[in-house]
């Protein structure tokens, strides 16, 4: 950035002598590195565009040739492998994803906000550090392990406690997904609470407010947007979760009537069926079309979360 556009004469004047002309090897290395660094810097944009383009490219054939929007979004009949008359209705799959994600959020949101408040505002010293480490470790458990837990631990428990024939259902997947999303939401919410400047707390405490009053009247309103953003990111995670819902929902195409019904999620459908499709075939393209839908929804959720969180930083 130093002298790239300066005329030689000016460089002489500034440097005093030719010996100080900076256009030596180091100068060129600096420029070369700057270019490489910039390319890597925009790689994230390139990859996101790449994801969109490649998923779109594989799925576009279905949208153009076979897709009937009414049938696709509004019918619950998903029979892609029917040889004569395959049907591609994702209503039941959307209902499955929505019911599981919704239940997961009912479990996860209050508990993770509570936990975040406890860790950020009430706990101190060693307790806080330990809890933070635990939450971080819980967030690291792979989704396939959660699915396995749903399959072999939750399944028999639900059958035993609620006396139902099958334990792989909305309830099972919802709890699993809730436990899975909670640590992530706790971390984000705790960050949002920590981002509230201490002088707010000190001012309130100086007025004689108790810790709870400070939290409820000062910290929570100030961290509102960050918390909302965290919840949204959690929703995005739950919505896009694949292996856990594949293993814990029962994987039956069904619009659920109760939490004990088996369902099937959008993500799980792709995971379960993609392996048996013909590359470029109608079924294959239909699965990519679901992929486009998933991409667009998570993109919107992430964008909204970002706008909400950034909103407070500006204000």
């Amino acid at each position: 950035m130093a002298n790239s556009n300066t005329a030689p004469g000016v460089a002489m004047a500034a440097g005093g002598a030719g010996a100080f002309d900076r256009r030596d090897l180091d100068w060129y290395v600096d420029k070369a590195v700057q270019a490489i660094v910039f390319l890597c810097g925009i790689s994230a944009i390139v990859f996101v565009l790449g994801i969109f383009i490649f998923v779109f490219k594989e799925g576009i054939g279905f949208i153009v040739e076979h897709m009937n929007f009414r049938e696709f979004f509004l019918t619950p009949y998903w029979f892609p492998s029917d040889a004569d008359d395959p049907e591609y209705g994702i209503l039941a799959l959307m209902a499955g994803t929505a019911s599981v994600t919704g239940l997961a959020m009912l479990v996860a949101v209050p508990f993770s906000l509570g936990a975040a408040i406890y860790i950020a505002e009430f706990a101190s010293g060693k307790t806080r550090e330990t809890l933070k480490v635990l939450v971080e470790l819980l967030a690291a458990i792979p989704s396939v392990v959660w699915g396995f837990i749903g399959l072999v631990i939750m399944n028999p428990l639900i059958i035993k406690w609620f006396d139902v024939p099958v334990g792989l259902c909305v309830l099972n997947a919802g709890i699993i997904l809730g436990l899975m999303a909670a640590p992530i939401m706790t971390s984000i919410a705790e960050d949002a609470l920590k981002a509230v400047p201490d002088r707010y707390r000190e001012a309130a405490e100086a007025m004689g407010a108790t810790r709870w009053q400070v939290t409820y009247k000062v910290v929570l309103p100030a961290a509102k947007n960050g918390l909302l953003g965290g919840v949204l990111l959690g929703v995005g995670r739950g919505f896009g979760e694949t292996m856990a819902v594949l293993m814990a929902t029962g994987h039956a195409v069904n619009i659920p009537d109760s939490v004990f019904d088996s369902v099937r999620a959008l993500t799980a459908t792709i995971a379960a069926e993609l392996g048996e499709t013909v590359v470029g075939g109608e079924h294959y393209q239909a699965l990519f079309t679901i992929g486009i839908l998933l991409f667009l929804v998570t993109f919107t959720v992430n964008l909204t979360a970002d706008l909400i969180v950034r909103g407070i930083r500006k204000g």
Binding site: I36, V37, V48, G114, V133, E241
Partner: protein, 296 residues
Amino acid sequence: MTTANAAMFHASSLNHRNARVQTLYRILFGMMTLMLIAPVMLILGTLIYKGGAVISWEFLFTAPTDGMRTGGVLPALLGTVWLVMVALLLSVPIGVFAAIYLSEYAGDNWFTRIINLAIINLAGVPSIVHALFGLGAFVIFFEFGTSILAASLTLAVMTMPVVIVATRESLQSVPQAFREACWNMGATRWQTIRKVVLPNSITGILTGVILEVSRTSGETAPIMFTGAVFFTPFLPQSVFDQTMALSLHLFVAATQVPGIAEEVPFGIALVLIALVLLMNSASIAFRMWLRGKKKW
């Protein structure tokens, strides 16, 4: 303290009520935290109890036998190591440079904001969509076939935000004065980064890399259609081979193998979770040690 003062500071009934409410909420939120953590601890305990029964050197270092109903996890374990290593080779350099751009070069403007948004999205796009991308781009378009290379590229794209975020934080924690001192000596921007900024943040970057190892080794969906297979009797010889992987092996053993001994999937789950959590703990321990050591 005089009597008058003592009276002044005497707790009123309002103070008492406030204190009670305060204690109530402290207990409530403490319980919520506990209810978040305790069930998972119980579950992990069950996994360790049931999986521990089959874990042995033999389990770790032999191949599955009898149609995967018995035997060990060696090919899956090695496959995971391959996938993670190749993914790291691709994502760490790009991720670190991307973080250098964001921390050292980028201004606070709309363009940087778009990059940040892209990073958030890269981390937030469902893993199965990453799988579709990997299949469409690396397996089909670039013609790598279902191979370790295609699977690792998919994993690399997916987990790169971990490296970027950790590295950026680590770079930004180097005080600005260090850079200014170096610039004043006539060093170029890159010389400053290489000689001053990176040496002061390398351990933080390593923390991010270990964290990425942890994340990458647990992923299942992105490798399902890009390079990992249910079963192969061969150990991978090159990046163009297909391979088994621990995470997919757990899925297969839990759902696709009829008549498998009940404790075998528990054993696989335990190996996987031990790998992931050990790496993650290492990263956390490393970070704490670093924080204690910091001189500025």
